[in-house]
């Protein structure tokens, strides 16, 4: 029973990691808190669902979800956010307005029913892990989460783009002064972060299902993770996701009606000691 719940917590944490890593990348580098991230997750899920059902291919659904949401991210960044650059609060509130529009448009297109993204044949059923029968698909999510962590870590630590992103998180002006087109790095990061929201939507859509308020729920988790982990830090997101994922899972088992409350405790304690989060740096 306990190991079953631990696995539930870990797999949920892996999903949260996929979504929140995109969120924190954008927050860390561009200083933009993208409150439309939850809505992008939801739309990614819907796109993945539609493509998945039409073509029968889960992978194709994932690709389309990522591309589709990256396109939405492009519109948001280049079409709207460019007018309010430099003012954090106006940016945040603008993305909030954008989230309302996206969410409502999703309601128009896909309606209010809840959908579950079809899981490919190979990932259905359960396998025996540590003496419990556990759904294969959720283990797959866990693997994807871990792979994504490794990939992002390699990207940030071992590539030129990653070096630029890290440098940009610390001091964007200085990077620009040394002759780098930081705008392009910003845009790439924004698209990458958006695509991750889309991917998260597809993966979450297959075991949490998609419905009109799912975007708000996933957004709260992402916010909690970034508040706990600290802005723009990859280890921060990983630790935050694990904490929130496990706490939420055990909270739901122990206090089913107050599960939301359980992520509130650690956040409160943490803020009292580290207002910028575990791995956050002052700017």
């Amino acid at each position: 029973m306990i190991s079953f719940q631990i696995l539930n917590g870990l797999t949920f944490a892996a999903l949260l990691f996929v979504v929140a890593s995109g969120f924190t990348l954008i927050f860390g580098l561009l200083r933009i808190v993208n409150l439309a991230h939850g809505a992008m997750y939801l739309i990614g899920g819907y796109i993945g669902y539609t493509v998945g059902v039409k073509t029968g291919s889960f992978a194709l659904g994932g690709v389309c979800a990522m591309i589709g949401v990256a396109c939405i991210g492009f519109i948001l960044d280049q079409g709207l956010l460019r007018f309010v650059r430099g003012n954090e609060l106006r940016q945040v509130l603008l993305t909030l307005g954008f989230a309302f529009v996206l969410n409502d448009m999703a309601l128009v297109i896909w309606g209010g029913d809840s959908f579950t993204v079809p899981i490919p044949e190979a990932l259905r059923g359960a396998v025996n892990v540590f003496g419990v029968f556990y759904p294969k698909y959720r283990l797959f999510v866990l693997v994807v989460g871990i792979l994504l962590f490794i990939l992002l870590w390699l990207l940030l630590q071992k590539t030129r783009l990653g070096a630029l992103i890290r440098a940009g998180v610390d001091d964007a002006e200085m990077v620009e002064a040394s002759g780098v087109n930081i705008r392009r790095v910003f845009l790439i990061t924004f698209l990458l972060g958006s695509a991750l929201a889309g991917l998260g939507g597809l993966m979450g859509g297959a075991f949490l299902s998609l419905y009109p308020s799912a975007d708000a729920e996933i957004l709260v988790f992402s916010l909690a993770i970034v508040i706990i982990g600290g802005r723009g830090s990859l280890p921060g997101v990983a630790v935050g996701s694990l904490l929130v994922g496990l706490l939420n899972t055990f909270g739901q088992v122990m206090f089913p009606e107050l599960a939301y409350f359980v992520i509130f405790g650690p956040m409160a304690v943490l803020l009292a000691f580290r207002p910028l989060g575990l791995f956050g740096k002052a700017t």
Partner: protein, 316 residues
Amino acid sequence: MTDTTRTLTIGLVTVIVAALLPFGLSNYQVGLATEVLIFGILAMSIDILAGFAGRTSLGHGAIFGVSTYVVIYLVSNGTSPVLALAAAILAATLVAAVFALLAVRTSGVYFLLLTLALGMIVWGICLRWTQVTGGENGLRGDIRPAALYDHRVFYWVVLAATAVLAFGIWRFVRSPFGLTLRGIRDSESRMRSLGYNVPLHLFIGFTVSGFFAGVAGGIYAFFNNFVSPSTVALTQSVEGLLMTIVGGVGTLFGAFVGAAAIITLENIVSSSTERWQTVLGLTFIVIMIFAPEGIVGKLRILFRRRKPKSQALPKA
């Protein structure tokens, strides 16, 4: 005329005009006007923080809604309306105090995120704690006292309460305490080095602001006779903040202009389409790009009667 007497005179004239309004309006329009007053108080309470402490809150809808829930729950279970209202305001103030304890250490975007997350937690609890909150269905109860059944009577009572509250808030932001808050808004580090206890001031400011949001929420319960998770949802906080911003952050009484503008818009849009959320979102985007100082703020800049006191959103 000094500033003070002028503001008081304008306020008095406005209240008298507002008191005469119901004679020219239909029952439905009186209802809308009542709604404007209630949400005007909510928007003013948000303005205490946004305009005078430089902290933009996205959690006030939740504080407001907690109060609504408590009133309806208590009155439906046999508590007297007055006692229920008092308990509700106390509950909302306590929630605000908890929010404040966590939020005073943050500023700018972090403050916004934290209040948003806290508000969402309240929403999540209201949605899931079905035994008490009725879950998705919410709580319904015909709780308005018989004496206030008439639309006009209820409007006048709300107007009287609004006048008192608005005066209270106006006094509050002009008090030495309010001036200290403004000092914190303009330069936190300077206030700290002058020996002011910044977190304590913010804590009290937030709690007081939550008190007013709670009063608005309690009154709303008697207006609406119904509460559901959407009353505490993010949309509520967003609408409240939008009213503050449309009216003009830091103008205080602009809150009522903003509330009137948004509620009128909502009614026009809702009568022709179901896409209110889209319109709300688009309004937000347009305001952020073109007029972050709001209607009253913009007017003040246009007329430039004196150096503009209003300001665009604090620059985080």
